[in-house]
Amino acid sequence: MRGGVRRFGAAERGLLPEGRLAGPMPWVIAIMMFLTVLAAAAGLGLGGAASRLDDQIGGRVTIQVVEADPVLRDRQAEAAAVALRLLPGVVAVRPVPEAEIQALLEPWLGAGLMRSDLPVPALIDVDLTPQARARIDRLRQAVAAAAPAARVDDHAQWLAPLARLIGTLQWLAAGLVLLMVGATAATVVLAARAALDTHRNTIEILHLMGATDLQVARLFQRRIALDALFGGLVGFILGGLVLIAIGDRVTALGSELLGSAAIPPEGWLILIGLPLFGVLLALLVARLTILRALGRML
């Protein structure tokens, strides 16, 4: 609208009655923000966990040389390691030391296990680039050629169900965040409409004085943005406190799997941005709602 650049100036605060525009709106937004923070934190934590799992073991395979004859087993393990080092995309080849294997078996078989007592497979940990991980069949062929008794244990394969679960939970969290955004926008629409109805007489008078739609909309936008900021901050603070409390409990558990779901630093930045995003969303939705309603007046 022409002339819309004009503002009422400092006195605009008084053109609408002081106090909140639509009573419960800030508290509804606070609840929405609280749930959004929790859902977003869950999504970010799961994303971090998935990423960490992938980094740590997703690109790793373990070669097991299952051979009862220790001499033959060692020979095949050595041949497999040599063959693996020659393959493109192999980042590291690490034959697992005897002591480490014994340490792995100790919880089940007890201490003092002698290699001669039980034919334990030789293990070789292999780290792969993502490209090499995608061509795992070539690795299998190379290992089979060098060590017929070798089996390739692909970590990503047994991690796949866990990764799928994490992925599903991440999508669920993202869906919840979107639902919260939609519900917040709907709350703002209802609040803006209620505010317009409440102040219809003032709006008509302002219009008849020559106020433009943008001038009127700014009055409501400002108030709704303040309400949204208040609600957003309350919800964010409560959500943050809950997250800190959960973090403490997880740390106390000492679970490596749960611990890997910690929110990364950039995740906290995203969470801190949520109240600001809420204010911008409220501003935009209020503006569109109010301008649309005003457009129906003369």
Partner: protein
């Protein structure tokens, strides 16, 4: 004595100058040029107004108001005076016909251009329509704030206007604490504070005592002498005689009661 900005045409006009200086996008100057060609600030041609699907409230209105004229609009209750004034202050658009305001067709005018025209019109509503949560001062200052006048430039003209309508000591009062007459004076002060080019008043003296009615009429008269076109809807026949140069429009059942055609361009009354 009227407010300073009403006393001379070149004085305060501080307010007037600042108010117009910040409205470069409004069609005031262009409108004036066109007005010079037609001589009319308002022109109605076969205008009809219908609310919903009911009968026409106003029918076949054709008249024009000269720029700088003073007009009384009379007629019995229900004749359509308020509806006609609503068309004039752009609260309604007609169902049919042509209305030219400040030289421009406002019937087909895009909605976005209306605010610029409304700022050129001062309105005294029959039911006052004060903003209930604002003080007397803020109600009177409202048109200036809408027009973007700086806060530092508001104090003097608004205070002067409040003093003129006898409400200097009620500047901080809310409308609910004012009497009907006081509310009416606030409404009038609000309508004239921006020195509008067209002043539309619906029964502006209905709730004030005769002495205050006379003062308010003199205020309108002073504005009119500065060039504002004034149209006052009233039942008060005594007022009609107070402004000798005023012309009269009489509405009856939604039509200009003008059997002889004299009222369309009514002759000036002889000066007393």
């Amino acid at each position: 004595m009227p407010p300073a900005w009403l006393r001379t045409s070149g004085g305060c006009l501080h307010l007037f100058i600042s108010a117009t200086a910040m409205r470069p996008d409004e069609p005031r100057a262009a409108g004036r040029r066109r007005l010079n060609a037609t001589g009319s600030i308002v022109q109605f041609e076969n205008v009809g107004l219908r609310y919903g699907t009911g009968a026409e409230t106003l029918s076949d209105l054709s008249f024009s108001l000269k720029e700088g004229g003073f007009y009384f609009l009379t007629g019995p209750s229900g004749a359509g005076k308020t509806s006609l004034l609503k068309l004039l202050y752009l609260a309604l658009r007609p169902s049919r016909g042509l209305i030219r305001l400040f030289g421009e067709d406002i019937v087909t005018m895009p909605r976005g251009r209306l605010p610029g025209f409304r700022r050129r019109i001062g309105v005294v509503f029959q039911e006052f329509r004060l903003v209930t949560h604002l003080s007397t001062f803020d109600n009177v200052a409202l048109p200036l704030r809408v027009a973007g006048v700086e806060e530092k430039d508001l104090e003097k003209p608004v205070s002067e206007m409040l003093a003129w309508v006898g409400l200097a000591d009620r500047a901080t009062a809310r409308p609910a604490t004012l009497s009907g007459g006081e509310q009416q004076r606030v409404a009038i002060a609000r309508a004239v504070i921006g020195r509008p080019e067209l002043l539309v008043a619906d029964e502006p003296t209905g709730n004030v005592d005769p002495e205050m009615a006379l003062r308010l009429l003199h205020l309108f008269d002073s504005l009119n002498k500065l060039g504002t076109t004034v149209i006052v809807a009233t039942h008060d026949l005594h007022l009609l005689a107070r402004i000798q140069r005023a012309e009269m429009l009489r509405l009856d059942r939604g039509q200009i009661s003008d059997p002889t055609g004299a009222l369309r361009h009514p002759p000036r009354r002889p000066e007393a």
